[in-house]
């Protein structure tokens, strides 16, 4: 990694750059009733000179049409891939838990677009889309879901524990909030070495309640670490709403407790998310952590096995109507960026990519039992326990 001395921003020097560039994005389409209107009755005035809590209102500046098409294509890839994963699960090719990014495509695409290739990402278990958007080959992602040796984690992680050194996806964690201290530590290492990469750490809304959330944000802010904490607020833990788990359901406001810059953005607009995340990344790169709340919706249940009975039929209708892939596609078509033929071609291309990924995964072998003990320790050590359950402790072993 390039080692650059970084100018440390003096926290007492007044408003940051981020305050100047208001990342105000109007939510496109109807605003879901469950989300409190950002900025409606809350003061946008920072409580101290050092932190900014911004609301999103103004429309975002547009980017190139190629970039817009890319957003759509990326969202489509995530959508179709996740659908294929759901199908594979029902075919018993994927086991365990399988949490999908259905409905969150815009957020995923927008966030990842803001990262440099050398920036690090820590995420939770709802990570397939993030893996794809970090540039990891869909074949390897699907193979990992199938638990095969060609998977991203060699079949050792599965849906929840993907990891790729080259693409800097540092997991994939099943413990809610477990990734926050890790992300903080990774940022610590970057700071320790004087490098200018940042760490992005995504999590769900439920994570804002766990102790590690508080400890990590506190340490990051205290030690001026280059980390962006992103709360993907889809309003639900599994079936528990944010209102039922958070005393302060406007999650971005928690940044103020640590004098941390924070913002909230509409997660249905990839452009808006991209801009918001870019701002956050710049702040972090200057040596100050950031808390970004991205408001989205889950299209389906918590995982593939959750039928989401806690939702009404009416709500399901509404969700379908607000499907970000459909609505963004419609918007691009309305703006003349895409036409039906383009979309058809994209669908075909994506369909092939996804089908190839599934075929690749199905043909990749499972890890051999001989490798069972290969990843217990990095440094070899005597008297390591390498015993299979049926083997006696002494006598014939292995």
């Amino acid at each position: 990694m390039a080692s650059q001395a970084r100018q440390r921003r003096n926290p007492a020097a007044g408003k940051s750059e981020a305050a100047a560039a208001q990342d105000a994005v109007a939510p496109s389409g109807t605003v879901p009733a469950a989300v409190p209107e950002p900025g409606a009755d809350e003061p946008a005035v920072p409580e101290s000179p050092a932190s900014t809590v911004s609301a999103t209102t103004a429309p975002a500046p547009r980017v190139s049409e190629d970039q817009l098409r890319q957003y759509y294509k990326d969202m489509l890839l995530v959508r179709r891939f996740e659908e294929r994963a759901a199908r594979a699960y029902t075919e018993a090719l994927i086991g365990g838990y399988c949490h999908l990014n259905l409905g969150e495509e815009a957020a995923v695409v927008g966030l990842m677009a803001a990262l440099r290739p050398t920036d690090y990402l820590f995420t939770n278990y709802r990570e397939h889309g993030y893996a794809l958007q970090r540039g990891i080959d869909p074949k390897k992602v699907m193979a990992e879901l199938y638990g095969r040796v060609d998977g991203v984690s060699k079949g050792w992680g599965g849906s929840m524990h993907m990891f790729d050194v080259t693409h800097r996806l540092l997991g994939g964690y099943g413990i809610v909030g477990g990734q926050l201290p890790l992300a903080t530590g990774a940022a610590l290492a970057i700071d320790y070495r004087g490098e200018d990469d940042i760490v992005m750490c995504t999590m769900g809304d439920g994570t804002a309640a766990i102790g590690a959330f508080h400890e990590s944000l506190n340490i990051a802010a205290l030690w001026h670490l280059p980390v962006v904490f992103v709360v993907i607020n889809n309003h639900l833990g599994m079936g528990t709403t944010v209102e039922h788990s958070a005393a302060e359901p406007h999650l971005y406001k928690r940044g103020a407790a640590y004098r941390m810059d924070a913002a909230v953005v509409d997660g249905f607009d990839p452009e808006a998310v991209h801009v918001a995340a870019t701002t956050a990344a710049e702040v972090a790169r200057s040596g100050r952590p950031y808390l970004l709340e991205v408001v989205t919706e889950r299209l389906k249940g918590h995982s593939v096995v959750d039928p989401a009975k806690y939702r009404t039929a009416q709500e399901n209708e509404r969700l379908k109507a607000n499907d970000p892939v459909a609505t963004y596609g419609a918007r691009l078509m309305a703006d003349g960026v895409l036409d039906e033929l383009d979309i058809e071609a994209l669908e075909k291309e994506i369909a092939e990519v996804v089908a190839d990924a599934a075929a690749f995964a199905a043909s990749s072998p499972s890890p051999s039992v001989e490798t069972l003990f290969d990843y217990t320790y990095a440094s070899p050590v005597p008297n390591d326990s390498r015993r299979l359950p049926g083997q006696p402790l002494f006598g014939e072993s292995s």
Partner: protein
């Protein structure tokens, strides 16, 4: 060779490793300005500065997890958790993350982390400050757990732990910090996963670790002098991996074993040792394996209660005598000269 305290050996080793390798840095509560609650890190903040000697907020999960994250990026953090009791706050980051990351991701990320923490009770610190829960970490695949009982081993095992690419729980002990011993001047790391026969013998195998290895050595020396009993003492030094070979080889020779531990008896460290002996030295046992452990109560504050709960030298000697009697051993002097005073710890 230099004679120094266990504390000094730790201090010097930390310092030398930090001088040798820029990626080694320290984190923990009160290790900098306060110079460490047990003064292990005294002087290091002023020498190395706040980047490399970091005082943390009271957030064991947060700073231990941060150490894991930093280790994933290639740094070599040495975290101090003030006492092992507080490690429970970081249990998730240690067990679910530090120990699992290498395996869970198919070997793509190492976690070269050291967690230093003392166990031990006996200073009337009460129930939540007097536990010995190293077992929780020795239980977990992916963790390494070492427990030096002498200043020399403190140095050698700490060198090994810092240079090892896996997460290592380095178990210290409050009662051992002031003990003195010879320490080699050269920086030679020990081999993790190996026990040591610190006193060869023929009549009985006495197994302990940390403070209890110290007690074992003293008791064996005493009984040799007063009664001519020839006890073989094993200092485990490493709880995970456990050196079963050394233990079993010894018991095959002596035919009797007593295990000493500061933790609670049921499901404690000694349970695994006894099971391993029964498995590997079954045909060589002339008496059941005895374990001497702490009474299974939350540690009370009142001194007589605390003393009663802790395993003492007297308890150790009693267990030894009973085991020797069970194998029909006749000592030259049947007078039980039991020294109640212990040079180590407050247990009498």
């Amino acid at each position: 060779m230099t004679i120094m305290t266990y504390r000094q050996a730790l201090h010097d080793t930390l310092r030398n490793e930090m001088l040798r390798d820029d990626s080694v840095f320290l984190m923990g509560e009160e290790i900098g300005v306060f110079e460490g609650s047990y003064k292990i890190t005294a002087g290091l903040l002023s020498e190395f500065g706040p980047k490399r000697v970091r005082d943390t907020p009271i957030a064991e999960e947060g700073f231990t997890g941060a150490a894991v994250g930093a280790a994933m990026l290639g740094l070599r953090p040495v975290v101090e958790i003030m006492t092992i009791n507080f490690s429970l706050l970081a249990l998730d980051q240690i067990v679910n993350h530090a120990a699992k990351i290498y395996g869970m991701f198919g070997g793509q990320a190492k976690v070269p982390l050291v967690i230093r923490t003392p166990g031990g009770g006996g200073q009337q610190l009460g129930a939540t400050h007097s536990q010995n829960i190293e077992l929780y970490y020795a239980f977990v695949p992916g963790m390494k757990v070492v427990a030096p009982s002498t200043p020399a081993d403190a140095k050698a095992l700490l060198l090994a732990a810092i240079r090892d690419d896996d997460p290592v729980l380095f178990l210290e002990n409050l009662a051992l910090y002031n003990t003195k011993g010879d320490v080699p001047d050269a920086d030679i790391p020990a081999e993790i996963g190996r026990a040591a026969v610190t006193r060869p013998g023929r009549d009985l195998t006495l197994i302990g670790y940390s403070r209890m290895a110290h007690v074992a050595a003293e008791v064996a020396a005493q009984l040799a002098t007063t009664e001519g009993i020839d006890i073989e003492v094993i200092d485990l030094r490493s709880l995970r991996p456990l050196d079963r070979e050394t233990i079993v080889e010894s018991v095959r020779k002596t035919h009797a074993a007593v295990v000493l531990e500061d933790d609670w008896l049921t499901y404690g460290i000694g349970a695994e040792i006894a099971a391993s002996i029964s498995d590997g030295a079954f045909d060589y046992l002339d008496a059941p394996v005895r374990r001497v452990a702490m009474a299974e109560v939350p540690m009370p504050y009142a001194k007589p209660l605390e003393t009663a709960a802790l395993p003492s030298r007297y308890d150790v000697i009693t267990a030894i005598r009973q085991t020797l009697a069970a194998v029909g051993y006749r000592t030259s002097s049947q007078a039980s000269t039991v020294s109640g005073a212990s040079t180590v710890g407050a247990s009498q």
